[in-house]
């Protein structure tokens, strides 16, 4: 707290202490930030004429979104949604099944150094690339359709789930692990009775959360040919059927909302 008591007596006014104590560092950060912002905004090339041209277009565009058209193409939309849901379920399950060994290997307190580094490498690679890039390659390799989306989402799940599993295992209490080890348990029994009960509640919550993410992601892997509701949405956009697109977007929002309630309910129930 910086006060203005120069003449001895009680301070009569109060000033908030600066967040960064070092004067030089503070000004360096402020000036540096301002220069960066100016430079970044400079590259935005905001084309006012283009935006002016775009605004009435935006008006027409948004108008054509309303009212959302749930009636036409209903069969296609339902089919796409169902495909997305199946894709999300199966890729969550497959991703988790693959994540468990990788997560065990990536926990520093369980694995030797070379296994640890190898598993951490897999996690880092999977986390770096967005699902969309994975999906582009999956489509190249496995052909169009939900199978490619399933592969991309499963690989994406590994980076997320294995990392959190490994961190949870590293944070688990070692005394329980020791107690189980003292009974003469072998490695699998040790994992199953000392580690697994500690991490399970959080992992169930996370798997539902990941199901939610995978459903949302399944809406975009379709744009590059990975099947699901994304493919339907992309078709609707490229056929200028914006009212159908609006209906699809609303359906996605609705399902995500339901999933979110479901997952918070499940997490409470598990804990």
């Amino acid at each position: 707290m910086a006060d203005s008591s120069e003449s001895g007596g009680y301070p009569s006014s109060w000033k908030k202490a600066p967040f960064i104590k070092n004067n030089f560092l503070r000004w360096l950060l402020i000036v540096g930030g301002a220069i960066y912002l100016a430079a970044a905004l400079g590259t935005m090339d905001i084309d006012i004429a283009r935006i002016k041209e775009g605004l009435p277009r935006a008006q027409r565009f948004l108008d054509s979104f309303f009212p959302p058209n749930f009636a036409d193409n209903r069969g296609v939309v339902w089919e796409g949604l169902a495909e997305s849901i199946w894709m999300a379920i199966i890729s969550t399950v497959a991703g988790i099944v693959l994540s468990v060994p990788i997560g065990l290997g990536a926990a520093r307190n369980l694995a030797p150094a070379w296994v640890y580094l190898f598993c951490r490498g897999i996690i880092a690679a999977s986390r770096t690339f967005p699902e969309i890039i994975l999906a582009i390659f999956a489509v190249k390799l496995f052909g169009f359709g939900p199978f490619a989306g399933f592969i991309a989402l499963s690989l994406g799940t590994i980076g997320f789930y294995a990392k959190l599993l490994a961190e949870d295992i590293e944070n688990s209490s070692p005394s329980q692990a020791e107690a189980v080890k003292a009974t003469g348990a072998n490695w699998f029994q040790w994992i199953n009775y000392s580690i697994q009960p500690q991490v399970m509640p959080r992992m169930i919550g996370l798997s539902i959360y990941r199901l939610d993410i995978n459903f949302r992601e399944s809406a975009v892997v379709g744009i590059v040919g990975g099947g699901g509701i994304g493919a339907t949405l992309n078709t609707a956009f490229s056929r200028y059927e914006f009212d159908t697109a609006a209906a699809i977007l609303l359906m996605i929002i609705l399902i995500v909302m339901v999933l979110e309630y479901f997952s918070s309910f499940m997490r409470k129930w598990v804990q």
């Binding site: 970044a40 590259t43 495909e83 199946w86 969309i132 975009v220």
Partner: protein, 270 residues
């Protein structure tokens, strides 16, 4: 304690019979759903292509090696754009997310109508992927960095606002009361009583989201919204695989650096 009778007398077991039956039933339902889902997916799969995948992978792998390093000259600008999209998008999102968060938190919301509007904003921003936002915005603003920035901004509002409002709901109320006791009015209470308590969360969330946004902004170019994705898309469409591998390496390095920066800054703040 549930027990069962064995030849040696009563013995301990983990669960009662009823619990076991319920568990068994849930496993049955779960596995049935998974099998059905798998069947639906495999029905729509052309297995010939899947069987051919190893050949394809080897082929593409061979074409991608070695990365065309000379192409790097043309990648500096897109990388710079990508970082700008993420940074400016995060700033837009934070500016918009803080009022939304205050409107959504149970203890600061003015009334129930405002709260439900704020919650709806959060959910819809979270459920529509940034690629879809970009798809829509490219229609309106034309292709370019601006569409990407706004897409990232709109997409991030929900995430940031959700985490911030949860932390507003968990504040220590006695500090607000203390400020109130000095005769502070509503806005002063927020600025001096609530904001200092959630400021670390706000900073942490902003940096965390920036890290995620770097990753997301690498792909926005696929729909024409600027950044390195534009080059990726172009290279993929022209089958310039050596350029694709270089771009993937560049993305990898950028993401690693941003992750490192974000971890350092978060460590310094919190």
């Amino acid at each position: 304690m549930p027990t069962y009778s064995a030849s040696t007398g009563e013995s301990w077991k983990l669960r009662t019979s009823k619990e076991q039956w319920i568990r068994w039933f849930f496993w049955l339902v779960g596995i049935a759903i998974i099998m059905y889902a798998w069947q639906m997916i495999s029905e729509k799969t052309i297995w010939f292509f899947v069987a051919d995948a190893p050949n394809q992978a080897a082929d593409i792998g061979a074409r991608m090696y070695p990365p065309k390093w000379s192409y790097m000259d043309k990648l500096w600008k897109p990388v710079w754009d990508t970082i700008n999209i993420a940074t400016l998008g995060t700033i837009i999102a934070m500016v918009l997310a803080i009022p939304v968060a205050f409107a959504a938190a149970r203890n600061t919301t003015p009334n129930i109508v405002v709260r439900s509007v704020a919650l709806f904003i959060i959910v819809s921003s979270r459920s529509v992927n940034s690629l879809i936002w970009a798809l829509i915005l490219v229609f309106i603003l034309g292709p370019g960095v601006l569409a990407g920035t706004i897409a990232i901004g709109l997409r991030s509002i929900g995430f940031c606002a959700k985490l911030i409002y949860e932390s507003i709901e968990e504040i220590d109320h006695t500090q607000v009361e203390a400020i109130e006791a000095t005769g502070a009015n509503g806005p002063q209470k927020m600025i001096f009583g609530i904001l200092p308590q959630v400021l670390p969360t706000i900073a942490g969330v902003g940096i965390y989201r920036w890290d995620i946004n770097i990753r997301e902004s690498t792909i926005l170019g696929l729909v024409g919204a600027g950044g390195i994705g534009l080059q990726l898309n172009g290279s993929l469409n022209t089958l310039a695989w050596t350029q694709v591998s270089l771009i993937l390496i560049v993305i990898l390095v950028t993401v690693f650096i941003s992750e490192w920066v974000s971890a350092k800054v978060r460590g310094a703040i919190i």
